[in-house]
Point group: C2
Chain length 193, copies 2
């Protein structure tokens, strides 16, 4: 019988595609095996188990996403960089809902630390904020605010939590603009009540 030519890489990419189509929660080894024309037991040579597969999708998505963001941010600074970062983030989340959902799973802290994508994400994010002249611990607070807003908006938009009344893109643009103003006038740590 001709072999399907599976590799861990191919399996994970196919799983990520499947996630984008049917939703991350509905990714199953059975469905994936069906897609390859293979029995589900065969996949266990390439992936430890379902949890391992999910983690691998998360790392794949994280790497893809930060690549797109880094490219968008390159050569920009200040509000320009922030807007580029935000739009690239949201576009990835909308284009790849399954992959994006994967990035939100709980990942072992030490495992995450060893990933180049995580380091790169921190680097790009903090780099983008450099123009605002914040120092620690303000910087961490600001990053947390940004991540929260970006993720929250995309998550809510993806689940259809926003009514259709007002254009979703416009609200996004204005939210990002508001964040820019917030960053410019960020109260320094000493002034916290």
């Amino acid at each position: 019988m001709a072999r399907a030519g599976l590799t861990t890489e191919r399996v994970v990419v196919a799983a990520a595609d499947l996630a984008d189509e049917v939703g991350f929660a509905h990714v199953s080894l059975s469905a994936l095996a069906r897609r390859f024309g293979v029995k589900d037991a065969s996949l266990y040579s390439h992936v430890k188990n379902l949890d391992d597969l999910r983690t691998r999708i998360a790392f794949l998505a994280g790497a893809e996403m930060i690549d797109r963001i880094a490219e968008a941010v390159a050569g920009r600074a200040g509000q320009d960089a922030l807007a580029a970062f935000a739009d690239a983030y949201r576009e990835y989340a909308l284009e790849h809902p399954g992959r994006y959902a994967a990035t939100q799973i709980r990942i072992d802290q030490s495992l995450a630390a060893s990933s180049p994508a995580f380091a790169r994400t921190a680097e790009v994010t903090y780099g983008m904020l450099r123009a605002y002249g914040l120092d620690e611990p303000d910087l961490t607070d600001a990053v947390r605010l940004l991540r929260s807003t970006f993720h929250g908006y995309c998550a809510l938009e993806a689940t259809g939590a926003f009514g259709a009344s007002r254009d979703v893109r416009t609200s996004w643009t204005r939210a990002v603009a508001a964040l820019h103003v917030t960053l410019e006038h960020w109260p320094r740590e000493a002034s916290t009540s």
Copy 2:
């Protein structure tokens, strides 16, 4: 054989408790039945199926949550009201991770519209924002920004996405303070570029 005394209400509450303990994604009818000392098929008299159960948990959680928020906001205005709203929101999400996760599932728009909790949520939220004097469509944009930040922060905190370095409560307080400033200086629609 003595009956377990199941009702839809009791089943849903037990399911919500189970969700808080093991995570919303791991709520199963089997586990729930086990908890009641009952066969899983028995639950189908009280709940249509797993999806129905999940939706009911979501409505329960949504109602509980807005009750807590409304109580916290009552009698406050401006920054006070915003902080009370935000803290009540976050506390609920942290105390009841499973219930909170349930509120994030996709719910049929018309089904949601018929829920009193949804109307109440809109009422309380828009009421809290009254002090900032915003009109539509700015109001909708502002609500979307608030929801995004609140949800994003809680979701990231819940999945352990924030490193342990900086106190999570402090970052939250400062994020809420930043939102207050943003709302006070919200650029009116006409001035949008």
